[in-house]
């Protein structure tokens, strides 16, 4: 649940003498390899930035020192992992994360127009990006109830427009700019109210349908 420091996923590296459960690709070997990779990447990314001298530490000093220590721990973990084994790596699921990432990407590219090479994505604002993200994210679970998700999508989007756009006045596109043409003389904030009101009505309507369905069953 909470990611406090308290919940150790594994025990200490070396306390697993005799437990070769993970095979060669155990947490120690893979984890250590990741650390080595991170250290090497840092050294490469630092390029020729000067580490300076002790008297006047350059921009590269601290990151290089840190990367060196990370690499050292990585090597140690790999060695321990090869000779003493380690915990097996739990199954990494593909479906859930992939769908959540997709939902985030769709959100990012529908909230405002963005040029990717020759193509410019449509900028719909939260009014479309929010529901799209909710509905796509819904696929991450094996079972889903479209009606419930749609109610959530509409109500949550209205809530976000009201909270972030209207109340907190944060700069964010709530709806496509072209919609302002339909409301000549209206300010953006007034249209926000109309849009979120519309969404709430949709949510309410869907909720009534849900109630009725439950009544039928």
């Amino acid at each position: 649940m909470s990611q406090d420091l308290s919940q150790p996923p594994t025990s200490e590296l070396t306390s697993q003498r005799g437990h070769h459960k993970g095979g060669l690709l155990n947490q120690n070997v893979v984890g250590g390899a990741c650390l080595i990779g991170l250290a090497v990447a840092a050294f490469l990314a630092l390029g020729d930035i000067s580490s300076g001298t002790l008297r006047s530490l350059g921009a590269g000093g601290m990151p290089r020192g840190t990367a060196f220590l990370i690499g050292l721990i990585g090597v140690g973990m790999v060695v321990v992992g090869i000779f003493r084994g380690g915990e097996a790596i739990p199954r990494v699921s593909l479906r859930g994360p992939a769908i959540i990432m997709l939902a985030l990407i769709v959100f990012a590219f529908t909230i405002r127009p963005t040029a990717i090479g020759p193509v410019t994505t449509p900028g719909f604002g939260i009014v479309a990006a929010g529901p799209l993200a909710v509905l796509i994210a819904g696929f991450a679970e094996r079972e889903r109830d479209w009606l419930d998700l749609s109610i959530l999508a509409a109500a949550l989007t209205a809530f976000c427009i009201l909270l972030f756009g209207y109340l907190l006045n944060l700069p964010m596109p709530a709806f496509p700019v072209s919609w302002l043409d339909y409301f000549p003389g209206w300010t953006q904030r007034q249209v926000m109210l109309v849009v979120s009101g519309g969404l709430l009505i949709v949510a309410l309507g869907l909720f009534l349908i849900r109630l009725q369905r439950k009544g039928d069953v």
Partner: protein, 501 residues
């Protein structure tokens, strides 16, 4: 008296209509999310950071603090009613709290938890107020070398006292420090590790990292778990404990408060250890220990008091020294930095209204939790019925909208996805993300003090040993680290934390 004067200033700040409202809002939102199983306080605060950015720093921190102890409180409600700890510090409450609920005494369990928490919160607030000034005055004597060593010690203690692999946690702290180096170097203006990419020229955004490795990664992990909820069907019953129940709980509450307050001061997970220590103590002191686990009221009163006392006193290292002892405090430090407040001993003199206002608001927040939450318990029970399949899209959209609203950068939205996936994979290979955040938050300050110390000593690295304060701090770090890695101590440490699991 100085203390009363300062608290007076604090209350005058905290009692302003706006701050009172924000405190209430924070407590309510915190309880709401703390009640929901599957969303911890760290993810909550990370998720809600953007909404506080429009406020003034004092109001924002008051609200964030409210979210934190509100979540602690909500976690206990879930622990008692559903047998799932809403968050880590409520684990122990599930034992006797839920047993009480099964016997139709859920209301009494909730009531005594609230009263115990309130008492502990009051005492802890006074402790913070009393320790605040002396500790900062002590810290004012620190020179750059000492401050660097203090941060090293803080990180070492956080790692050693937190359970889990020490070496892996050290690696994560270092990775956090490394990430904090990305971007333009403040002293030379050189772009470090940006690969010429302008998006990260200003460094990696704190809220993006926190929201990714806590908010999004938590969703990815929870999607793999099929949840089972066992909401107590019995009626909640009367909430206010009777005289006998109160007298039974009085001493456990006192002892729990003392234990929790002391353990909460320690970096790492003092706040988590408190309830366990208190439970063990009460069980040992009881005339009939077999009642524990069967719904002993002492097993709820003591740990709940310890839990809340620890949660409050863990603010002390953060507020007075600028050293976050755990991930929640790292988020607070990050929020302060975003508001342009450099965390450290100077906060108390440069922003007294923030420092004392926050302390006063903690007591007010505890009072609000006591007064508001007990009557609203029916509402929280209903919330428990919200299934996770509706919660995670909500968190996802809230995170996306929130992070976008900070800088209007779509890359930020993509970045929380990236860091979320990284956080998910890290846990798979056995790394905890919390130390990474600690390292990230302290990285810039550490580098600055390291460089300054070396300039002052004309390049002599022995300055860290020749300064007595620094030498002592480093010695403690080395001894603690060495001890934690000794096989015999390690075994015992593993046992302590295994019990805590």
């Amino acid at each position: 008296m100085d203390l009363i004067e300062n608290l007076g200033l604090g209350f005058s700040v905290a009692l302003s209509l706006q701050n009172l409202g924000l405190c209430l809002l924070g407590c309510m939102v915190g309880t709401l999310i703390g009640v929901l199983p599957g969303v911890g306080p760290i993810a909550t605060i990370a998720m809600l950071l953007p909404i506080t950015f429009g406020l003034d720093p004092t109001g924002a921190l008051i609200m964030l603090a409210g979210i934190y102890y509100g979540a602690q409180y909500g976690g206990s409600t879930t622990a008692i009613l559903v047998n799932i700890p809403g968050e880590a510090t409520a684990v122990i409450t599930t034992l006797d709290g839920h047993a009480m609920a099964r016997r139709g005494r859920a209301g009494i369990a909730l009531g005594i938890a609230a009263i115990g928490s309130f008492f502990a919160g009051t005492v802890a607030t006074l402790i913070i107020a009393a320790l605040g000034r002396p500790l900062t005055e002590l810290a004012m004597l620190f020179r750059p070398a000492d401050y660097f060593s203090l941060m090293v010690m803080g990180l070492v203690l956080a790692v050693v006292l937190a359970g889990g692999s020490v070496i892996r946690a050290v690696a994560m702290v270092l990775a956090g420090v490394l990430l904090s180096c990305v971007g333009t170097d403040i002293q030379t203006g050189e772009a470090r590790m940006t690969l010429g990419w302008l998006t990260i020229a200003d460094g990696i955004d704190f809220s993006v990292l926190a929201m990714g490795i806590f908010g999004i990664a938590e969703i990815l992990r929870n999607l793999e778990v099929t949840e089972v909820r066992d909401v107590a069907r019995e009626r909640i019953g009367r909430l206010l404990p009777g005289r006998e129940e109160l007298s039974q709980s009085a001493k456990p509450i006192l002892r729990g408060t003392a234990l929790g307050a002391i353990l909460g001061l320690l970096p790492g997970n003092g706040a988590v250890l408190g309830p366990f220590a208190s439970y063990a103590l009460e069980k040992r002191m009881a005339k009939d220990p077999s009642r524990f686990g069967q719904g002993a009221i002492e097993g709820v009163a003591g740990p709940e008091a310890a839990n809340n006392a620890g949660a409050q006193t863990s603010f002390i290292p953060m507020l007075t020294l600028g050293i976050p002892p755990n991930a929640v405090m790292a988020l607070m430090v990050g929020a302060m930095t975003i508001f342009g407040i450099v965390p450290g001993p100077q906060v108390i003199t440069q922003h007294p209204q923030l420092f004392w206002g926050m302390i006063a608001s903690m007591w007010l927040g505890n009072l609000m939790l006591l007064l508001i939450n007990l009557p609203l318990v029916g509402l929280w029970v209903r919330l428990l019925k919200v299934p996770y399949r509706l919660m995670y899209p909500t968190i996802l959209v809230f995170c996306s909208v929130g992070i976008y609203s900070i800088n209007s950068q779509i890359t930020d939205v993509l970045f929380i996805g990236f860091f979320g996936y990284v956080g998910y994979l890290l846990v798979k290979v056995g790394f905890e993300p919390a130390p990474l955040l600690l390292g990230f938050v302290l990285g810039a300050l550490m580098e600055e003090n390291l460089r300054r110390a070396l300039v002052l000593s004309r390049g002599d690295p022995l300055v860290f040993i020749s300064s007595p304060i620094s030498a002592v701090l480093l010695l403690i770090s080395v001894v603690m680290l060495g001890l934690a890695l000794l096989p015999s101590v390690r075994r015992e440490r593993d046992e302590v934390f295994a019990e805590a699991d």
